[in-house]
Structures are given as C-alpha cells and as structure tokens.
C-alpha cells in the first residue's frame, strides 16, 4: 500500500500521526482495555474491595433472564428495523431507477430524512401516536383499539421500530439506487427480451445487487443495535416492563443508573464481540464479491 515515490524525513511522519494516535490511544484503547479488565473483576457494592473472578460476570450476565429478555427484544427490534428500512429503500430505489421524469426531484425528497436525529424522529412520531393528543393515537382509540404505548409492551415496540426505521430508509434508498445504477444497461435490456419485470428483478437485478444488500444488512444491524439508543430513550425509556430494552440500552441502565460496573463491562465486551464479528464478516464478504 505504500507509494513508490516517498518523502524521506525521520521525524515528520511521527508528528503527523501523533494527534490521531493520541486520541485513539486515550479514548479507544484505554477504555476498551478497561472494559475487558473490569469484565473479569467483581466489586462489592461499596466499591471497597475488588476481586478477580474469571468469567463469572459473563456467566452471570448470560444466565440472567433480564439479559436474555433484552437479547430477545434486540433480535426482534433489529430484524424488524433492518427488514423495513431495507425493503422500503429497495422498493423506492427500484422505482426511482425506472426511466421516469423528475427522478432528481424524488431523489432529493427521499434523501433529507437521513438528516433527522434518531431522537428527533422519536419526538415526531410521539406527537402523532400520543394516546391523548396524537392524531393517529386518538384515531386508533376511536376505532376501539386500546392504544397506549406507555402501558402496552407490544405497542411500544411497534412504535420504536417505526421511528427507528422511518429515518433509516433514506440511507438504504441511496445505496440501493447507486447499486442499481451501476448495473450495466445492456444486461437489463438483454433480460427484457425474455423475462417480465418480476422475473427480471428476482433473477437478474437482485443477484447483481447482492454485494450492496449484504453491506447494507451489516450497516443496518449495527444501526439498530447502537444508533437507535436515542429513539428508545426519548420514546419509552426501555419500558414498559423492559419491553423495549435493547442490549445497548441495558448497558446504559446497568452502568449509568445501577452502577454495576462488572456486569455492564461484561455486556460491553459481548457487544464488542458482536460488532467485531459483523465487521469481519462484512470485510471478508464485500472484499470477495465486490468485483462481479
């Protein structure tokens, strides 16, 4: 990866990397090390004595029904968010890739929700689905549906999935559109000779999009795992009765509210392993499939 022609200077390169390296060491490696270190220690509730306990924090966490419940919530939540935002993104991208007028206008109108913060998206949907003041919340009640996301766990989960997916569609739309536009016209035109639009989509376009799809799959899972903290914090606070407490939300409650460092660190390390696995998978797969 180095260039053939380079500058010779013994000191300058170290000066140049120093700022980034300093920030990386202090705010990435030190805390990550601390998380791993804390995850094998047990502290008494008063913080007076600390004991090395091997993997006890991990076994405690993985046996904790609350943690397993939070895993279940995360699985449902991230599957739903990924499916909805990718599905809608692909649908709109396919439509915008059709040779129609005003494609640029649509593209602009579909791009801006990316700018909405997850927490702000939550506030916008809260205003609509609030049981007593929200326009749709009241409409649901009017239809005889007992709508109250503050008491009903399933409804709460539906609402956070909606708020989290809504703002993520733009991202998927842009990547799918870029993917579709990189498919050579000649391939698509050849396929029109002997296949209808449905068949053409499933057996020609979708397979050619697989690198984009796989990439987006990983990005969306990571988004649903971590970036949606704001949505949940603003809408439900993990409730009711932990129905919307995802893994990252639990790290927050256990570490910041309950001050259980050992458990929170063990949870962080588990999350870390999940991210590393996902990123590694992505690199392996995208690297191999990028030239089709």
């Amino acid at each position: 990866m180095r260039r053939r022609v380079i500058f010779d200077n013994k000191v300058l390169p170290y000066v140049l990397v120093a700022p980034q390296l300093a920030v990386t060491l202090v705010f990435f490696f030190w805390p990550a090390g601390q998380a791993i270190y804390q995850s094998v220690l047990l502290q008494d509730p008063f913080g007076l004595r600390t004991q090395f306990v091997w993997f006890e924090n991990f076994t405690t966490v993985l046996r904790d029904p609350l943690y397993l419940g939070s895993m279940r919530v995360t699985a449902i939540f991230s599957t739903a968010v990924t499916l909805f935002s990718m599905g809608a993104g692909l649908l709109f991208a396919t439509m915008a890739d059709a040779r129609i007028r005003a494609v640029h206008v649509y593209r602009t109108l579909m791009t801006w929700p990316y700018a909405v913060a997850p927490a702000v998206s939550a506030v916008l949907w809260l205003f609509i689905f609030h049981p007593s003041i929200g326009i749709l919340g009241r409409a649901l009640l009017g239809l005889g549906i007992p709508w109250d996301y503050k008491l009903n766990g399933v409804q709460a989960l539906i609402l956070v999935i909606l708020a989290a997916s809504w703002k993520q569609v733009s991202y998927n739309f842009l990547f799918f559109l870029a993917g579709l536009q990189s498919i050579p016209r000649s391939v698509v035109e050849a396929a029109t000779m002997d296949a209808g639009p449905g068949r053409r989509f499933w057996s020609i376009i979708l397979p050619l999009l697989s690198p984009t799809t796989f990439f987006l799959l990983v990005v969306n899972i990571v988004y649903a795992f971590f970036d949606t903290f704001g949505v949940i914090h603003a809408l439900t606070g993990g409730g009711p009765a932990k129905a919307t407490e995802t893994l990252i939300y639990k790290v927050f409650t256990d570490g910041v509210i309950n001050l259980d460092l050992g458990s929170s660190s063990a949870q962080s390390v588990i999350l870390l392993l999940i991210v590393v696995t996902l990123t590694a998978l992505q690199f392996k797969y995208v690297e191999r499939k990028v030239h089709y």
């Binding site: 990866m1 180095r2 260039r3 022609v5 380079i6 500058f7 200077n9 300058l12 390169p13 170290y14 140049l16 990397v17 980034q20 390296l21 920030v23 990386t24 705010f27 805390p31 990550a32 601390q34 809608a88 649908l91 709109f92 439509m95 915008a96 129609i100 791009t111 801006w112 700018a115 913060a117 927490a119 702000v120 939550a122 506030v123 916008l124 949907w125 809260l126 205003f127 609509i128 609030h130 003041i133 809504w166 842009l174 990547f175 870029a178 990439f215 971590f226 970036d227 903290f229 704001g230 914090h233 790290v251 570490g255 910041v256 929170s264 660190s265 962080s268 999350l271 991210v275 995208v286």
Partner: protein, 276 residues
C-alpha cells in the same frame, strides 16, 4: 428497448409519491402543531390545517428559559468541532501513512483501522470513566475530542492519496517542494471534493449525537438541541407545551436538513465513498 407500457409508467410515480408522503407526514404535523395553542393540542383537538399562532410560538421557543439559541449554538459548535477535528487529524495521519516510510508505520495504520470496529456506544461506560478521570466532564473538549478519532476518514483519505500519480510527487520534489509544502499546495487542493463530501456526513453525525452528550453534559449551558427537546417532553402528558416543543424541533431540523439539501451532490458522493 421498447417504450414501457402505459401502466409501467405511472406505477413508479405513484409508489414514489406515497414514499415521499410518508416521509413528509410527521414533519407536516410538527409544523401544524407549532402553529396552534397549547390548549387546543392538549384537548386533542388539533386541526389538520395551520393555526394562527406561528410567530408567537416560534418567538416563545426562541426565548424560553433555557434559550433555544444556546442549544442550537452548542449543537453547531459540537458538530463543527467533531467535523473539522476528524478531517484534520485524518488528513495528517493518512498523509504520513501513504507518503512516508518509517518503522511502526503498519502498526500505526492497524491501530487506527481497528477503531472502525469500536463505535462509541460499545465502550460508552469505560470511555465516560476515562473522560471523568481526566476532569473533562461538562467541558467542550470532553464532549468533542473523544468523538474525533475516525478510521473511516483516514481510510478514505488514504485511498484518495494512493491514486495521486507518482509523477506529480516526483515533479514537486524536483521543483524543490518539501513534504509540508507538497501537502498544502498540491495534496489539499486535490482532495477538496473528498473533504466537502466528508464534511456533510460528519456534520450530520456530529449534530445528531445523543448518548455521548447525554452522559458528558449535565449543565444546562452545555445542552445540545437534540437532548434539549427530549428533556422538554419530560413525562409527555397532555399538559406539555407541545406547540413549543414542535417549534423547537423544527429549529433543530433546519441546519442538518439544509446541509443535506444544499450539499446533496457531495453528500451522496461522500456517503457512498466512505462506506464502501
């Protein structure tokens, strides 16, 4: 290729129009909500059309106890510091890794690269502890510096720098340009569009931060607009001043949406290039 049948021509327009409507839907109600009185919204009788309290509500939101413009300024400064900081340190480190040969070069590169796998949320509690040990809680540097290191930006600039032809570097050296002169007068101008693209992505990333400012800032003077809005909701009952919250939400949406709309070309370019 045969012209698409008539039915195939209106389907895309229809589907896209529905999509756009779904996107605009919550914004429309936020706008409507910000033009009515608290009592009308509180009774659940908000009409579907704008009310007559627009100026009054926005003026009140702007002048509230914890003024919205302080929060907007905080968000803007935070987003700018993260954006400029990330771009600056990434340009420098990418330059070192690509244009110099020195011991530990690959180690440094991998140390930066691996941070790609550590989003701030994963290491949130220990990072908070480090920042607290350094006495940086409730400080602007505590809010921004830990978010500045970025493997993404470094990787992007590394890729850009690799495509610069050797002849150009040769020529600059023959003309007597030193390493820093080359960086300022040749490399930076050549990376302009990439810097612009990255700027859009990072500004939005910075503006929309939530968990980190929530932990690091407890004083009201430090509050960002996104955190401020969520705090205004409080318990979220009918007595809440929804019209003010909605007006504030509109204020919070204007800067990042404007950045995306006015720099759309660079935004799309930056998004696709940084992630791939």
């Amino acid at each position: 290729m045969a012209a698409p049948a008539r039915s195939e021509r209106w389907i895309p327009h229809f589907v896209l129009a529905v999509g756009v409507a779904i996107f605009v839907f919550p914004i429309y109600f936020a706008l409507i909500g910000s033009t009515h009185e608290a009592s009308v919204i509180g009774r659940g009788e908000m009409p579907l059309t704008p009310g007559r309290h627009l100026i009054e509500n926005y003026a009140q939101a702007w002048n509230l106890g914890s003024p919205v413009h302080t929060m907007l300024t905080n968000s803007f400064l935070m987003a700018m510091a993260i954006t400029v900081g990330k771009i600056a340190i990434s340009l420098l480190s990418a330059y070192a890794v690509v244009f110099f040969a020195f011991p530990l070069r690959m180690l440094f590169f991998w140390m930066i690269f691996i941070t790609l796998m550590l989003p701030v949320e994963v290491r949130i509690i220990p990072t908070y502890k480090v920042v607290s040990d350094l006495g940086m809680i409730n400080s602007f540097s505590g809010l921004t510096v830990p978010l500045i290191a970025s493997a993404t930006a470094t990787l992007l600039f590394r890729q850009v720098f690799m495509t610069i032809p050797d002849e150009l570097v040769e020529a600059a050296k023959i003309d007597g340009a030193g390493a820093m002169r080359f960086f300022w007068t040749i490399l930076l101008p050549l990376s302009r569009t990439n810097i612009a693209a990255l700027f859009v992505i990072l500004f939005i990333y910075g503006w929309n931060q939530y968990l980190w400012p929530l932990l690091i800032t407890s004083s009201r003077e430090m509050e960002t607009i996104v955190i401020g809005i969520v705090k205004m909701i409080g318990t979220g009952d009918a007595q809440t001043d929804w019209q003010i919250i909605m007006a504030t939400t509109i204020f919070a949406l204007i800067p990042p949406v404007a950045v995306i709309l006015f720099m759309q070309h660079w935004f799309v370019k930056g998004l696709i290039e940084t992630e791939k």
